[in-house]
Subunit: 238 residues, 2 copies
């Protein structure tokens, strides 16, 4: 059931001070800084030191039409009554979800472990990208089982130790796909068995090198950015 729509306190607050902020246009350059400070203090958008996450309840689907169904995803056009009270028509892509594996080899260094990276041609991006292993869930599959399967298929590795790192939505404006990232440690090599339409170059790359590449903007895959950056933080690495 949709929740009662609530008016955002920040929005109503903004209205009350809007005019002040908009009319504050200093003509003299020297006073701009002071004015910026003043308008900052008059900023109607509330400062929240301690953000309480309220996921709310799902909206109510009033109608749903299947527009396309392929092997990887379905496209639906739905009319939704959102918990805000608004009714909207949304084109959305439904997907089973994906598992992502940050496969970590700490045998040489715990502080700067090696991470398994694939170079893979991505038609959607029209280039080769450097990515951590990942794949889509089969219907009804357990997430950890899917992660183990994908790691084995794509790299040949099995891992002794698995833990969840983070779960997120890749592009929640229209894509239902979530990504569950696992960290896999205690790697033992074996034989990869990629699917027919897959082709990888595999390498193990030091975390420090990946962080350097990320800082230079050379890693362009979202799940790899999220996985490596979250993992680096979990190690307390800058």
């Amino acid at each position: 059931m949709p929740a009662t729509p609530k008016k955002s306190p920040s929005k109503s607050a903004r209205k009350s001070v809007k005019k002040t902020a908009v009319t504050a246009k200093p003509a003299v350059k020297a006073v701009k800084k002071a004015a910026a400070r003043a308008s900052a203090s008059a900023d109607p958008i509330a400062v929240v030191q301690d953000l309480r996450i309220r996921p709310g309840k799902p909206g109510k689907v009033l109608s749903s039409e299947l527009r396309y169904e392929g092997p990887l995803f379905r496209v639906l056009s739905e009319e939704v009554e959102e918990p805000t009270g608004k009714r909207n028509r949304r084109d959305i892509i439904r997907h089973n979800g994906s598992v992502v594996i940050l496969a970590v080899d700490t045998s040489k260094s715990k502080r700067d472990p090696l991470i398994v990276i694939e170079r893979q041609y991505r038609h959607a991006a029209q280039q080769f990208l450097y990515e951590v292993p990942a794949g889509k869930m089969e219907p009804g599959e357990d997430r950890l089982a899917a992660a183990k399967r994908e790691l084995l298929e794509e790299t040949g590795y099995t891992a002794r130790k698995w833990k969840k790192l983070v779960r997120y939505f890749a592009s929640p404006g229209f894509l239902g796909e979530w990504m569950q990232v696992f960290v896999a440690e205690g790697l033992a090599p074996g034989q990869a068995a990629p699917e027919d339409d897959e082709s990888f170059e595999l390498q193990r790359v030091p975390l420090s090198e990946l962080l350097r590449l990320i800082e230079r903007g050379q890693i362009q895959d979202g799940k790899t950015l999220v996985s490596v950056l979250c993992y680096a933080r979990s190690l307390g690495r800058k």
Copy 2:
């Protein structure tokens, strides 16, 4: 033109040592650790200390069929000759690309600035998510102009200083959408003008609080994870 397919050196290397790794199955538990060390040293996947990024060339589209066209994206089913030499059929989603704005208020603290965060209902995720402002590009639009437009529409802010932070693909297995993240500083408040189907609660949240929420797995939007984590690294923050 597709590049000549190259055989991965790591893959051919793997083949030559595969049997050793696979037949090493210690029956006694006590020797497992030593065996793990041994198989780690026999790991056929190369260690690359200095990863040279080779994006390659786009594949050749042999056929393309439009499966669905909506306001936000198009679905195409394409047969592609990839630069690896493989021919594959791929369902892909074409999208104009998105701009993402990390709007940073450093007026109180440069070390722990405030970040503008929206709480927004996302039908694709079936929940409210906490996100940085973002929106899709209009056809032919300049990226920076799009970022300024989206920030103003969604939050009312204008910003004196803009710089690019990172650009990435949200889910490159099938989605062509890239996300260009900008950092916007020197914020001045004004009047927001969200689109009819948009509804936000806005707040300014300290970077330290966002990092704490990320560590607890409470931020579930990919672009927000990437933007905040990359920005924190750029400040040298753990």
